[in-house]
Amino acid sequence: MPLNSKPDALLLELKGLTKRFPGVVALNAVDLSLAPGEIHALVGENGAGKSTLIKLLCGSYVPDAGEMQFDGAPYRPESPLDALKAGIRVVYQEFSLLPYLSVAENLLFDSLPRRYGLLVDYRKLHERARALLERVGLDVDPQTPVEHLGVAQCQLLEIGKALSFASRLLILDEPTATLTPREIGRLFGIIRDLRASGVTVIYVSHHLNEIFDLCDAVTVLRNGRRMVSLPVAATSPPEIVHLMVGRELEAALATHRTAAEPAPGPAALRVQDLRFRGNPHGISFTLCYGEIVGLAGLVGSGRTETLRAIFGADFRDGGEIYRHERRVRFDNPRDAVKHGVCLLTENRKEEGLVLPMPVRVNVTLTDLSRISQGGLLNARTEKTIAQKWVAELDMRIASLEQAAINLSGGNQQKLVMAKWLFRNAEVLMLDEPTRGIDVGAKAEIQDLLRRLAAAGKSILVVSSEVPELVALCDRILVLWRGQLAGEVQRQEATEERILSLACGESIAGAGAPSRNINEGHSHAQGRSPE
């Protein structure tokens, strides 16, 4: 039970909160009330205003209109420090860890135990760090530098960092994106303990099953407006999806391929004994035109490394690549692009787009020769081409001059696809194309991939969401520790079969993976009705 002396008083109350950006109202007169000791889910498509709301709460943005009341007093944070002082702590989707400092130093960075007021008391530091690590279930030495940790471990560390600090309101932004079912279970336990001690939690997630499992109430945002705030017991996942998307998702998902599937075309790309850097095993497979091939595997199994090695983005230890059954050399991305092979990396912000530059520039970046004569750019041609691809991929943008950084995740992903389609790429390799994208945009991207395959492109998709691969792919290659553990055809593709291959059961028998499994939990959305 909440320890607060006034159990019916609200901890946080927002009234008419509004934030405008050039060309958009990111948050439009939003009201929200949170009781002490409540776990409140915040859902909505990307661009619905969740991040804006969080940034207003933690003082990164200043609202244009509206009021905030925290713990019965007006709350007007000018900076993140004000929010911390008030007892509001945020665990962001993007990590804010210092890679060269140790786990312990990162955990307790804001309150390092001191000796004589000057020196860091390392004994006490490691002691406290160990307790926090145990609480979040992270089994690493507190002295390990953070740069050696995996993504899931970093996520747990961020949560531990938030726990080192007695907060009144804890905001968790997509905390489970990289966690295994076991880790998620433990996280939920921690959150429930916090609730019992009176801490209020705002839980942002795309995964509705988690929300219905964990949260007390849910608020749906759409296009910057609050659609509804409901107790979880009074609603259902389909209703929430409907409120988030504002259209029937089934219609989008129903475009799944029919049974009368044309046979895949001729071989587009063949990889022979490819060994990405540091991998002793060779990987061989063939991609054909007109098919979507999935690449599954646990975190650390070498999915991303395989794609990057084919593309020439990273060095290879060996292997041959054949395009149209002719041996080719991809020494760098330039060679691959010249042969019509492209890679959409998992970090579209860091590696896919030139974020501060306009949409127009990002679309045409892959082939400037087509918008220029003798090295001189033709602004009109460029605009026409960019316009065409924006319409073709149904991108929602304010203008062609809008910087890519201001687009939502789904539109950014479409922008990356647009730039490669403009380049006439024939073999598209996509690394986690729907990660961090909302339900509606996810369906659109999947739909787009199907249409591209139907139009004859050859597609290779890496995804951590096995249901997505099952719904999308003609066949699925499964990697286990840098080797090809097996291939599953569409007809026999089930989550169980793929996971068992990914865990090395066909190769090692008892080879229990030491790495994280992040494909384990099923996702309420993004799953095909199949």
Partner: protein, 349 residues
Amino acid sequence: MLREDRPNKVQPVEARSDAVGTAESRAARFTFVQRVLREAGIGIALLLMIFVFASLAPHFTDESNITNILTQVTINLIMATGMTFVILIGGIDLSVGSILAFAAMVAGLVLKSETLPVPAAIALAVLTSITVGMVCGLVNGFIVSFWSVPSFIVTLGMLNVARGAALEVTNARTLFEFPNEFNAFGTATFLGAPAIFLVALVLVAIGWAVLTRTVFGRLIYAIGNNEEAVRLSGHNTFFYKVAVFVISGLTVGIGAIVYMARLTIASPILGSGFELNAIAAVIIGGTSLNGGRGSLIGTFLGACLIGVLADGLILMGVGDFVRQMITGGVIILAVIVDSYRAKLAERTR
């Protein structure tokens, strides 16, 4: 190709056309205002400064003084043009002052050659100076790009190497008594303006066109913003990273000739500290030291501002030392304004 096969388009474009239309015009207006403010800020500062000096400093508006300002601005403007390319891609070139001296000394020897007829000697000297500049730039760019070392360190090394080379060429002797035809160029006027200033203007114009109107310029900006994304888009980023240093060397080679013609001598101690003036012009002009953002128009205005400030303060009788302090203050102020602008852009996101 795609359009025909998409019966299940999730949302038709037409359905949203009104909403997009208004949002688009608003966003377009905003970026226009933003762009004008970015470039106009420095322009307004320059106009204000000219106005203040015109009313306070005696003889500021005299024709001879204006000619003097333009002459003073010329060298810095030429060097800052190349520097803008380097800074836009996220680098820095500290070696330009030393390379200027080295190029000048080699070109000076060619000019004084007694075996060549005068016109040939002049042509060859110009060619030599530019070649020396470009080769030094090539070395800078190659080392920076091939070994991925910070350009700050590499060009700091080149600063010393080129200065040493300049001293070594004539064993620290100063060269003078160049052909009269050559020296005349330094004081020649064309359409009422110093000819050397027009050379600088032409360079700025060409540089501006290259940066804003060509594939080359587009990629300089893109690499300055996100090199990895450009590399993964299939471009040869190595080429562009080397090329900007070669361009910087090219402008230094031209700057060396212009400077020699004006001074009628070539000395190995020429140009020391010029790198800082050039960087100051670029920064005051609003180009970001992180790369990817800025323009040559800004650099042009920045160089003019530095020149006007120095000249106006001299006319008002401000001493050398105080003048240096004020110029330094203006550079710091420009960086503060720039950071404020960046923050503003982030807030309005």
